[in-house]
Each structure stands twice: as C-alpha cells, then as structure tokens.
C-alpha cells in the first residue's frame, strides 16, 4: 500500500480536483506540467541553490539534550524555525515562484491566516520582482498587524476577506475567486497541502526537503537514516507532509500528527479535524472537514492561527483513516506550557503551532532508545503577544 498520491490525484479515497469549470484550465495546466518542471535539472539547480543561499538550508537537526533527559527518550528538533522568514513555509513559496515563472505567469495571489505564508509569498515575489496580492481575513488582519506590515514592506498588496467568518477559510475563498477572475496571467500559491490536485502533491514535494535532510543528518549523528517517530503539527498539514514525506511508506517509522484541540475537543472551540471532521469537499479537495450535518463548513478555533483550518490535506485524511499515522489533539493550554518549557530547557522560542507538537511528550511515552524527531516548524517571534497575554509576562 502506498500512502502517497496516485496517478489520478487521490490519497486512498481523498483528494481529487472538485473545482468549478472556470478553474479547470488553470489547474489542468499545472497538473500537466508540474512534475516535468520539477524534475527539470535547471529547475532543481535553481531551487536547491535558493534553498541553500537564500533560505539558509539545510536547517540543523539539533539534539535537544535537556528535553531528552526530562522525557527519557532521544529528542531531535528539525530547525525549520531558522529558515529565512522564520518557518517551513518558504520552502514551498520558493518552489512555487519558480514554477510560476516557468509557466509564464506574471501575477501571484496567495491566501494567509496568521500571515506566515503571506510573508513567505511576498518575500519570494519581491525576490523575483513579481506582482503579489495576498488575501487575508479581516479579523486576522486586525490580530496579526506585524505580519501585515511585513507583507506591505515587501511590496505585496494585502486585500481583506470580508465574507463569511473573515478568517483563513474565507481568505482562501477570495483567492480562488480572484483566480477565477484572472485565469490567464495569475498563479495561485497555495500555502499548504490542501486544494485541488496537484496542489497537495506539489506542496508536499517542495516541503519534502525536510525529510530528505533528516535522513542524512540522522545518519551523521546516529548512524541510521530513519527515526522511530516523527512528530509534526497539522493545520492544513504542510510541515507534517514535508517531515513525513520520505518515510510515508516505511512503516517502521511512526508518524505522529498533532492537531489543535483548542479549548477542548468537544468544547465547540476546536480545530481537531480528525476527530470532529467528516468526509466532504473543501477548497477543491475531498478530505476530512469540520461541517454541520447539512454540509455547511464550520469555523474552527485554535489559539494558534496556523492550525485554525476546518479541514486537513487529503494526504493526512488518508494517513488518519488508514491508521498509518497516529493523531493526537493538544489543547491551547497544553501547547502554551510546552512552548514555555522549550524556551526554558533549550533556549528556543517556538511558534505556537509547533508548541502543539512539543506538548505530546506529556501525553505519550517513548522508550529511552527511541529516536523522536520533532519538526520545529516555526519560530515564536510572531506569537509574542499571545505568549505575553497567556503568561502575563
């Protein structure tokens, strides 16, 4: 059994391209060309070069000594937080801007929730001198002012999404509508492993550099190429897709996906899609999503804006349903405590998204010999306000 995408764009029964006909030519153009472009040696060379010189890859695989002592297992942190722009998001935007150039596109659109993907997109557009429009929910604009300012400094136009709940889901709707209205010159840089095929696969491949590096780095440090477990948080699921990618079909490696339980899974304020979601269609993909009995998409909640999405990517829906990955839900409070713990044990301030992954060590026991790699997907600078409020700092 393969846990990767099949030829038709499905992961098991999840995935596909459930899009209005207006989007078909755009998505089809991408589907026909993406693999060929990604495998082209000149593309590979340019992508690798930018990841090295501009993003600062490879990101270190760091043995977290004091944390390992506390939890009596071997914990490694994959330091995506040290990337340029502060998270794994840039791996994908570098790939997609090069893709857009090769497809002859002259205008970039993107959606963003907390603003990390928006900043990573604005960054690569500035780098390449391409027009950039970022859709962001009106509510998120108000609560993520520093990232809005960053995008503006980088030359992007930030357009508020004022429909629906005015958050990430609606920003994505607005970006899709923009694409419908601009079918020829525009490339849509989706920020996660969501959306119609080929997006989940393309984004996963761009993020796969994470697990590729883990293999080499682990070999260097431990003399093995695979860990016993890989842990990553899942909103849409791009950092998890990247960290899992080279281990998807190697069942000796345990995959642990961490979702945001918000104020508690059954509190009505949660983003734990694997528990609360049912199969449905969101943003062009058949996947697990949070919805009413009547099929209306509901609004998720998490203290972390990056995990605040009502669906998961189709790869993760399949990993959940097949039992290949273990899914764990972590509440706001548990995540915040784990974030603070990492600060004090290792001197690293993590993004709150990542703090969810770190919280599993209180929930789940590992053996002393287990090698557990946690994808440290982002740094916490953007979250200082939330940390300050939570801990009355």
């Amino acid at each position: 059994m393969s846990y990767n995408v099949d030829k038709k764009g499905y992961y098991g029964e999840f995935g596909g391209a459930y899009i209005p006909e207006m989007l078909y030519p755009n998505v089809e153009e991408l589907r026909k060309n993406y693999l060929q472009i990604m495998n082209d040696p000149s593309f590979v060379k340019e992508f690798d070069q930018l990841l090295k010189d501009y993003v600062g890859r490879p990101s270190p695989l760091y043995f977290a000594k004091r944390m390992s002592e506390r939890y009596k297992t071997k914990i490694y942190l994959k330091r995506e937080d040290l990337n340029h722009t502060g998270a794994h998001k840039v791996n994908n935007t570098i790939g997609q801007i090069l893709m857009a150039q090769r497809l002859g596109k002259t205008r970039i659109i993107a959606e963003t929730g907390a603003g990390q993907h928006g900043v990573a997109t604005a960054t690569v557009c500035a780098l390449m001198g391409i027009e950039c429009i970022v859709y962001m929910g009106e509510i998120d604009i108000a609560r993520q002012a520093p990232n809005v300012a960053r995008m503006k400094m980088l030359g992007a136009k930030v357009i508020p999404a004022t429909s629906g709940s005015k958050t990430l889901k609606d920003a994505t709707n607005e970006a899709i509508r923009d694409w419908i209205n601009n079918p020829e010159n525009t490339h849509y840089i989706i920020g996660s492993v969501v959306g119609p095929h080929p997006y989940p696969d393309m984004v996963a491949r761009f993020q796969a550099v994470v697990s590729e590096e883990i293999q080499d780095q682990l070999n260097e440090k431990e003399g093995v190429t695979k860990p016993d477990f890989i842990v990553a948080c899942v909103g849409g699921g791009s950092n998890a897709a990247g960290a899992f990618y080279h281990y998807l079909d190697d069942t000796e490696v345990g995959l642990i996906a961490v979702e945001a339980a918000g104020k508690g899974i059954h509190s009505g304020e949660s983003a734990a899609t694997s528990v609360l979601g049912k199969m449905g269609i969101i943003h062009g993909s058949k996947t697990l999503l949070m919805q009413t009995g009547d099929g209306q998409i509901t609004e998720p909640y998490s203290i972390s804006a990056g995990l605040d999405y009502p669906g998961v990517g189709p790869m993760h829906a399949h990993l959940y349903q097949s039992g290949r990955a273990e899914f764990i839900s972590i509440t706001d409070d548990e995540a915040m405590e784990a974030g603070l713990e990492l600060c004090q044990l290792e001197g690293i301030i993590p993004a709150i998204e990542t703090s969810h992954s770190l919280a599993i060590f209180k929930e789940r026991k590992f053996s002393p010999d287990d090698i557990v790699v946690v994808n440290l997907s982002g740094r916490g600078d953007k979250d200082l306000d939330t940390y300050i409020k939570h801990f009355n700092l």
């Binding site: 596909g16 391209a17 459930y18 899009i19 209005p20 006909e21 207006m22 078909y24 030519p25 429909s163 629906g164 889901k169 609606d170 709707n173 899709i176 509508r177 419908i180 209205n181 601009n182 079918p183 020829e184 049912k278 199969m279 449905g280 269609i281 969101i282 943003h283 062009g284 919805q291 009995g293 009547d294 099929g295 209306q296 998409i297 509901t298």
Partner: protein, 256 residues
C-alpha cells in the same frame, strides 16, 4: 418528458432566473417561484445556499449567508417544495455546491428531487469526469438532467466531451468571472458566443454571468437559446422583495 426539454423545444428565447432559496425570508422560496412563473419566466434555478460558494460574487454570497442564517437546509428546502408541482409548471433546477448534496447523499438527494418534480441540477464544483464516472447513472435513473458549465477558456475538445455528457442544455459562462462581477458584453464575449454557436453542439446553450437587464439579455440571446439572470435579480429581492419581481421581469422582456 423532462420539462427542460419541453421548454427548450419551444421556438423562443429562454429567460431563466436564479434566486437563493430561503431569501430574503426563510418562507419566501415558494412565493418567489410562483411570482416568477406568473410573470412569464421560462425556467427557475433554485439556489441551495452554501457557506463557501467559490464561484459566486458578493451579491449571491451575501444572499446565501442570509439564507443560512434564516435556517435554510437541504431538508427544509425539500419540505418547502413538496407540493410545488400542484402550482408550478415551468422547469425547476436546483443549483448548489457539492458538499451539502454529498452530505445528504447524492442518491437520496436525487430521489427527493424526483419525488418533488425537480428537472435538473447544476453543481458547479462537481467536475464532469467525476459526474460521468460516479453519478451519471443515479441522475438518469431519477430523470434528472445534470447541467454542466463551459467558459471562454474551455478547450474545444473539452466542450465536445461536456456536450456528450450533458442533457438539457449547456450553461455557458459569459466571461472569466464569478457571478455578478461584470456587466455589459464586448467583442470578446460576442466572438466567444459566435464560436460556440458555430460548433453546432448537440445541446443548446444558455448564457449566464453578467446578464442584468434588457440590453445584456438581448445581446446574449442573439447567439444562444437563452440567458440566466442571478445577481441582478437577488438585488431586486433585496431592495423591493417579492413585490419587485413583476416590474423587473417586464423590464427584461418588455414585449413578452
């Protein structure tokens, strides 16, 4: 015989009106339908509201949000429409996004439509290939036409495929846009209308998106079998309610 086919066989240009079920008030659905038929409309598209209508512009989005706030659901729509065929003879089509239909169960949804006397469905985010492989038999056994869309960017090869899978008519999206975005047609649109007309497809085409008044209606139907008005009609309902319907329809086809 399916009412859509019967209507299209007539020697006249078709005026089809879209409105959102449960808007402006939850209980307005049936009154709007009756009033439209009374004023000579040829076909009606009943919009099943969805939380995330990707292909729609602000006007229809807002009406969907309001309808959901009013409490509209698939079940309540079927309940409202259960006796509709005692009063209304013109073709009725339900237009909705796939997720609510998928949750209801595609087969159960189609059966309900058949019981009530719905003639077709328009599901913009159900791609033609998925329909063809998974759902066509269910639609056909329920006597339902699935209306598929084409746009100015749809390739000729794909138009032929869509034509071969379609029944009733092809929904021809006038320009690259969401609903209600543009008004007025230029040479690009008329060239496109002419190009499709010259393809001599098996199914007639009805144009939607960007039609709001007599001028755009006449221009669109010069090349095609008919035209659909959505957002402009929703604005009438918003501003004048059901009482505004007669006047609006007369303004589109003053000589009818």
């Amino acid at each position: 015989m399916n009412r859509i086919k019967k209507t299209l066989d007539q020697d006249k240009k078709i005026l089809s009106i879209y409105f959102t079920a449960g808007f402006p008030q939850l209980e307005d659905t049936v009154s709007v339908i009756k009033e439209l038929e009374l004023n000579g409309v040829d076909m009606i598209e009943i919009g099943l509201p969805f939380s995330d209508p990707l292909a729609d512009g602000p006007t229809i989005q807002a009406s969907s949000t309001q309808a959901l706030v009013n409490g509209m659901t698939s079940s309540s729509l079927f309940e409202q429409l259960k006796d509709i065929r005692e009063h209304v003879k013109i073709p009725l089509v339900i237009m909705g996004y796939f997720n609510p239909i998928f949750q209801f169960g595609v087969e159960a949804f189609c059966k309900k439509c058949q019981e009530i006397g719905i003639d077709g469905l328009i599901i913009p985010d159900l791609p033609v290939d998925v329909y063809h492989q998974k759902y066509q038999k269910i639609f056909e056994s329920s006597g339902l036409y699935n209306i598929l869309l084409i746009t100015p960017q749809t390739s000729e090869e794909r138009i032929l495929y869509i034509d071969s899978v379609s029944k009733g008519f092809i929904y021809m999206v006038s320009s690259a846009s969401t609903t209600g975005a543009k008004s007025g047609f230029g040479k690009i649109q008329t060239d496109y209308f002419q190009r499709i007309s010259d393809m001599d497809l098996d199914n007639p085409q009805i144009v939607g998106f960007g039609i709001s008044n007599e001028e755009t209606f006449n221009m669109a139907t010069q090349y095609n079998k008919g035209a659909i008005i959505g957002s402009a009609f929703i604005k009438v309902l918003e501003n004048k309610g059901i009482n505004g319907i007669g006047e609006f329809i007369k303004s589109i086809r003053p000589n009818n």
